[in-house]
């Protein structure tokens, strides 16, 4: 189900080389979660200002240039993007949300944006093709489009991920649309919970971007029980987070780390994140090497309560126990086969300390990661 299948959502987009521009028309309520990086990109500053009243008429997004570290001029450019969209939609500048992704430290080409915005808006619509145009327009190094939805209640999300995905929030843009109606306080609480359980569990390379933006936009045409909506919103966000991990720059395998038996949930999440973020674990999994010693080392420095009484299993195309309560089981050759045959890996860890459970998401680290990131700009 595309974002255009949410009643009241129209969109379109264009991608020309590295540059893209997308526009969404979507009257309704809006809440957002943004990067915690102290250096915030201009669109993040302008967008949080514009959505603070909880109202939205539309959204303008560009890719290829992050409009970050661009000073007062950058802020002015972000406002200008909103003015361009507002003029096209016939609404107030402050009812437009804005986002950017791409290279840091370069001024936007406002001529290009103005010209493309007219073209994009002139053919705005609600077909599957329109949704795809928008999805493509916001991508950078993404290898596939990231979408997730729930049919009942109606939720549809589109995202841009890959690279610079941090333990605290991903370098990502994610726009979630729903017809379910809530006040913006309720929407914010629900978005916060969903983000905490998905994007904030995600680590590609530990870097945190200046532009991270997740918006939840409600066109308010449906009454839905909060519990029901929260459950589906969580699922949608987790699905997007998994897709982003899978498409981590150069990633060949999705890594999910489930920790049980921790003293509490916090410790479990801490332990899971340390394993999912460890470069040594990531490179081992890339090499199909069931090197559980590196998992142990990561658990040891995670800050969680651990001792040597640890159990580790590997799940993928098959299941295999590697360590049982601290005893190595010498199943490495089977484990290697499981790794070779799986592009989704689950590491299941029991710390045998208590009842705390938690998970984290990551991906392997490949030659391609180095290639993409050593050859990106300038």
């Amino acid at each position: 189900m595309e974002i255009t299948e949410i009643e009241g959502v129209l969109c379109n987009g264009i991608k020309e080389g590295k540059l893209g521009l997308g526009i969404v028309k979507c009257r309704g309520s809006v809440v957002g979660v943004f990067t915690k990086n102290k250096i915030k990109a201009a669109p993040v500053i302008v967008c949080s200002e514009h959505i603070s009243d909880g109202k939205i008429e539309g959204l303008i997004v560009n890719s290829g240039n992050a409009n970050a570290f661009t000073g007062k001029e950058g802020i002015e450019d972000a406002r200008e993007m909103c003015r361009i969209a507002a003029k096209l939609m016939g609404c107030y500048e402050r009812d437009i949300a804005v986002a950017s992704t791409g290279v840091i430290g370069k001024r936007l080409d406002m001529e290009w944006i103005k010209e493309k915005a007219s073209i994009v808006f002139s053919e705005i619509g609600n077909s599957v093709k329109h949704a795809e145009n928008f999805a493509k327009a916001i991508t950078t190094t993404d290898r596939f489009l990231k979408k997730a939805h729930s049919k009942k209640p109606k939720i549809s999300a589109v995202a841009k991920g890959a690279g610079m995905i941090s333990p605290n929030m991903a370098t990502m843009l994610c726009f979630i649309f729903t017809s379910a109606s809530y006040d913006s306080g309720e929407l914010y609480e629900m978005l916060k919970q969903a983000v905490d359980n998905s994007f904030n569990r995600l680590s590609v390379d530990g870097d945190m971007s200046t532009n991270d933006t997740v918006l939840l936009i409600s066109t308010g045409r449906e009454k839905v029980k909060k519990e029901e909506f929260q459950e589906k919103l969580n699922e949608v966000c987790l699905s997007i987070a998994r897709q982003i991990a899978k498409d981590g720059e150069g990633a060949t395998k999705l890594i999910e780390v489930y920790v049980t038996g921790a003293v509490d949930e916090n410790d479990a999440i801490k332990a899971a994140k340390a394993v999912a973020s460890s470069l040594l674990v990531k490179t081992a999994i890339f090499g199909n090497d069931p090197n559980w010693g590196r998992v142990i080392a990561a658990l040891g420095y995670s800050g969680a309560e651990v001792d040597e009484t640890i159990s580790i299993s590997l799940e993928g195309a098959g299941e295999v126990k590697l360590v049982e309560k601290g005893k190595p089981l010498n199943n490495e050759s089977i484990a290697r086969k499981v790794l070779e045959n799986s592009n989704e890996i689950r590491l299941v860890i029991n710390l045998h300390k208590g009842t705390g459970e938690g998970y984290a998401l990551g991906c392997d680290l490949s030659y391609e990661y180095v290639k993409l990131n050593s050859e990106y700009t300038t």
Copy 2:
């Protein structure tokens, strides 16, 4: 100046494929700093126990197997290593220090160790060749031997580094010998300061090993002023740390990050570490790409007080300013040349917030890192 040039230090070593064994005979005082990982390797546990009285007769070290996550049997093996060395030297087991490095989760081959220990000890001596044998015996994926010294006061250090070098302490073994005489309380304070200003500023991949060990051993034959000794000890440790960074797995460039103008020293160190640890900065430098936007992003999430008023310069074979008080200077093409022609890069950052200064060490991230770490064990 080799470790054998410290009066009272005799050594020897052997390396056969991935396995190595080294022995040092060195009566004197000893202090040590060990990994903060909660999962400590057996030799770390045994060694800290043995050096707790501040006395040492000798040292036995093996490479190729970390004797980590090996349970009670591993502890027993580490004790057995000490017994073997003690028997050869005719001293107490508890006056022997022990260290291991290599693969996690495998029992030591005690037969091999016992056999080689006799051979190594039977030809122990104090020539340059003996020092080199020991240095080689303790290496794993090291591409070059790591040594540093001071002639006056006499200090000589030998180390094993590469890989799993973390912001908190390196996966490293470092043995520092001196003839300067202090009580072990004084020695410990001085070692702590030297380690804080060197190894604890170092990040290769953010992982923290189970085996990190730095020992400072004094044969006590010389009286030296504390200030003088501290200064030289700091220099020796910083030199070893720089060598370890330079030899980070797959590294092609040493990265030194100097932060000035922070609100205080802590903030400066925090900012410097975030930049030196950023995978995106590391891959950019590997690709000779002066992508200062990634430096800005890392400063932003470092936790240090920052705003956009940042200056960044690059120093190597030449010097070039990239950003002046938040203004990009468009010197990327010159900067690229500097990067291409340098294997030691200094990023000099001014946060324009105060007078705090600090530095951190790291290295770039290359294809070779991925290769080494995806193809290591099992």
